[in-house]
Each structure stands twice: as C-alpha cells, then as structure tokens.
Symmetry: C2
Subunit: 299 residues, 2 copies
DNA sequence: TAAAAATACTCCATAGGTATTTTAT
DNA sequence: ATAAAATACCTATGGAGTATTTTTA
C-alpha cells in the first residue's frame, strides 16, 4: 500500500548521476545505508531492479535509465513548484543561484552582489563560476536559477536576455606602447596566448582572428590574469574583454590597444529556464545586471 | 530544511478538487486533522497561503490555483513512473483501469474480461462505466489507463486506436415486423426514442437522422434496455447499436430492421494517454478488444 | 446552532544513524 | 587487500489517530 516518495526519486537521481551509492549518499547529505535502503525499497515497489550492483561501480538497467529520465523531469517540476510562491509578493527573497562564466565573474560579481543587496535586501545570491557548457547543464537540471554567459546559447528550453555588448582589446608588452595596432589577420601571425579549452572566450578570440582551430604550439592559460602576466613577461600578446582591463592590467607591465576593422565584441546575456515560475523576477534581475555591466568598474 | 513531499501534493490536489478539508481527507483515506496539518505545513514551507479558509467552503488563492495545476502535472508524471516497470517483462500484470461507454459496456465487457483473463492471467481489469466526457477527463488526470469510446475524441494528449465499425439498427414494435424500412429522413417524422443527454450514441443517432438538435417532445431513456422496453410497449421506435441487439431484444416484443442508404455506423476505438509508459501494452490489449468486439456475443 | 476546520495529545511506523559483515576486484 | 554495498540494530522524528475546542455562516 506504500507509494512512491520524492525522497526516493531524489536519492535515485543522485545514484544515477554519481554512479555510486556512497557518493550519492554524500550528495544527499545522508549515510550510505540510508540511501541503499531507499533504493531497495523503490525497487521492491516497482518489482524490478533499477541498477546492476557491482562492488566498484553501479550501472543503470534499461528500466533504470528510463526511470531516471522521468524522475529528473519530475524533480525539476517539483523544484519549480517550490519557487512558485516566491514569484508573487512584492519583495524577491530567498536563495538565487547565479552561474557566471569565468571571463566575466571576477569583474562583474562584486558590484552585482552589492547592487542586488541594495535592491533586494532579502535576496540571498549564491554565485557559481564555471564554463558555459556546465552552466547550461546545471540550468536545465534546475541546479541553477540563472546564468550570465555569452550569447547565443541556442537551447530551446532557455530564455536568452541580452544585457550588454562587450569589446575585446589587445594586450601587448609595455614596450610596444603606441606601436601600430595589428589587424585581425596580422594577429594570427603573432605569438597569441589564449585560455584553455572549454572557455567560450577562447573560441571568440580564435574566431575574431579567422582561425577555425587553435594553431599548433599555442600558449594557453587557465585565467585572463595568467595570460596578462605572461604578456607582461614578454611571451606574446593576448586578447581580453574590456571589462577585465582595469583589474588585470593594473599590476602588469603591458599596454592595451583597441582593435578595429571589425571591432571585436561579444554579447553578454542572462539565460534561464522558460518554465521557471520566477521568470518575471529574472527579468528584473537582468535589468540590474545590465546596468551594473554598463556602468563599468567605477560604478 | 524540510522539503516538499508527494504526500502534500496528493492531499492538496484532493483539497483543490473537493473544496473541503473533510472530503479531501476522506478521499485520501486519512482523517481531517491529518490532512489539515499537511496543508498547513505545505503553506508554511511556501511562506504563503494556498487556500482561503472559511467554515463552509474552501477557495483556492491565485497561488493555490497555479500550484494545483502544476501539482496535477507532477502527480500524473509520478503515476506514470509507477507504471514504467509494468511496461517491461513478458507478462502484463497488475490493475488495469478500463473505462467503457454505457452503450458498449454491457455487451462487450463480460467477454472482454474473460478474454483478458485468458491472455494475461496476472492482469486485474477494473472496469468503469460512464459517458465519454467523463472518461476523457479521467484519462487525462490519470484516473484511468484506457477507455473504450466512439471515435473521434480529438484530444491531442490521447492516442486513438480504431477497433471495429459498429452498425446501428432500427427497433420497432413486433407488430411492424417486415414493414417497409424507413429512410433516415423518414425516421425524424416518427416517434423516436433516444438516450438522455450526455450519451454519445444519442448524438450519433440524431446525426444519422439529419437532426441538428433533439426535437421537442422527444422521449428519453437512460439506457438502451429502457428504450427497447418502451418500444415493446408501443411508445415509438429507436436505434440501437448492433452489438446490443441480442441482449436487449431477447425479452422484448420488438422487431429489428437493418437500415440503409446510408447504412449508419460508428467507429468504436480505444484511447489512452500518449505519455503512458504502458502504451505498448495497450496496443496488445486493443487487439484483444477488437477481436472480442468483432466476434459478436457468441464469441 | 450546526457543520467544518483547528488544536491538543498520544502512539507507532519508519527514516536515518552507528557498527559490522559481506562481496567483488 | 581494499573499497564499496548490504545487513543488523537502535533511536528519534513526525505522520496519523482520537478527542476536543474554536470558528463562522
């Protein structure tokens, strides 16, 4: 006479995601036996196994895979249900999980958190920084509410709200201050430093230089900060978004130059699940982010 | 730190549907205080009221209405999740909630239940008889698995599987045995007895007689059995589906005549929710129903 | 004043914790 | 031999029951 519980779905989803009872339990903030028992109970209710047990790793059965897919949809819908109440009322309160790409986060977040705090004192912004692909996954699985990324992302389930246009600038060793600014095609002849694989800004820079793929022997860095320091050491040149200039070039012996013909830029925007009941709230938030982004570091 | 439970959703759905704590509790097979507590807990978790309390009757708040709509979707999905396991394996087992329209049920169900029992010994058919509109509602809300109705029903969420074509025949007093068979247009001049409002067969009969609406002074009955008995008493004539002939005319002083030009008929079919994981099973069931229907009462 | 919801309390089922054993690599 | 899952046992939370009070139409 027992029936399915959300608890069971949550635990099973974690198991399907982590592939291990122990990790799943940790993820759910319970102990491994507790999770094992719930999975066992779930399987007994269904009358069929969801996972193939083995000591090292757990594999989902065919049924388990179908089950996991539907369970995820349900958990997402339940999450949205919980947000329904927050969408009404006059003040926006509670946790807001914001994802931001690494080439924007450090330059925007401090001022953004401030601005949000001023506008919505009861709001609890929970920022998270990672690459676009991960942010999109997290959004689709309801592990994030909104994400600030470079547009377009082209996911049908997501709404895209453009916030501001951001130009790229060239960073050269200080010794080249005032030298002639190279064209896009000249750039690819130079020793170009780029972010490592996975960062959208890497692809945007490559694209501006008319390079379909990264050239051999490309020097890579894991952050814009690293790239600029490498430029300062005379290793090469790089491109960075305008927003990063103030912070990153302050303590580096580099010079900054505007590019032109065409002037390179990207659109920063905010995305969220269309079905999220907080969508209207997010539109308000987007306005604040846009203002913050345009105001610049002095804002 | 608590989170939503399906129990809360089920109780709230019942409350939204019944509009009363007591009825909802009864519906959920618990006591009224237990349900009250869960609703209270739910509202406190959301931080906003879902219902406006009053002694006589409960009204949903705006939030409550949105919440109820989403909750229903979730509960439906959870129900389907529970059926996922039954879709695999080689034998189809467990409860199968079958809805059948009243002008088909008594003539088909006995043989159908037998046939199902032969084919799927572990299956537990739970038939329910009511008019098409109610059946469709129940299907959409996951209170039924399949329904046997006259096609088309034209609901995008439902799959329609045609089973067999069923002709209508004319039932006249026994005294008119062998008399000339009237045409469709003649029929509307005669004293026609029809089923009461809500039965699709009523509309099908009217449509065959080229009557857009029921004529004034129409005699109505609540079952085909009643109609035939009235014909036997010399009150008028009526149309019944072929399948009903054997059972209904056995103990009545009436004669049966085939109609023609055009020969009237309707398509009996089976419908189910497209998203139901048991859909493949239902296709098997449909084959059995079709065979049973075609075989006739001597089956 | 009568019907329905809320409150007060009691009990027990069960979810989850700790400790340990079993299993598979 | 080791890491992970299952098993055994215990505890405590909270869901549901009964009895009663409060509310309002």
């Amino acid at each position: 006479m027992k029936s399915l519980t959300l608890k069971q779905l949550r635990y099973f989803e974690a198991l399907a995601r982590t592939g291990q009872f122990g990790r799943a339990a940790e993820d759910c903030a319970i102990t491994q036996p507790a999770l094992s028992m719930q999975i066992k109970e779930l399987e007994s209710q269904l009358g069929a196994p969801l996972v193939e047990r083995s000591a090292r790793r757990v594999r989902l059965t065919t049924l388990g895979q179908q089950f996991a897919a539907r369970a995820r949809d349900i958990l997402r819908a339940v999450y949205e249900l919980g947000d329904l109440a927050r969408a009404d009322g006059d003040q926006f309160s509670g946790p807001l999980r914001i994802g931001v790409i690494p080439t924007v986060a450090p330059y925007l977040l401090p001022r953004l958190i401030q601005a949000l705090g001023r506008q919505f004192p009861a709001l609890d912004p929970q920022p998270r920084e990672t690459v676009t692909q991960r942010l999109i996954e997290d959004l689709l699985e309801s592990r994030l509410d909104i994400a600030i990324v470079a547009l377009p992302v082209s996911e049908p389930a997501l709404h895209e709200e453009p916030l501001f246009e951001e130009e790229f600038v060239l960073v050269r060793p200080a010794s080249e201050e005032g030298a002639m600014v190279p064209s896009a095609d000249h750039l690819k002849e130079m020793r170009l430093l780029l972010l490592e694989e996975g960062h959208c800004f890497r692809d945007q820079a490559l694209s501006f230089c008319n390079l379909p793929q990264a050239p051999r022997g490309l020097m890579e860095g894991s952050s814009l900060s690293t790239l600029v320091q490498m430029v300062g050491a005379g290793i090469g040149v790089t491109l960075i978004p305008e927003m990063a200039v103030e912070l990153e070039t302050r303590n580096a012996v580099v010079s900054v130059a505007r590019l032109s013909r065409p002037r390179p830029s990207r659109t920063i925007g905010m995305v969220w699940r269309r079905s999220n009941p907080l969508a209207n709230r997010f539109a308000q938030i987007a306005q604040i982010v846009s203002d913050t982004g345009r105001a610049g570091p002095r804002g």
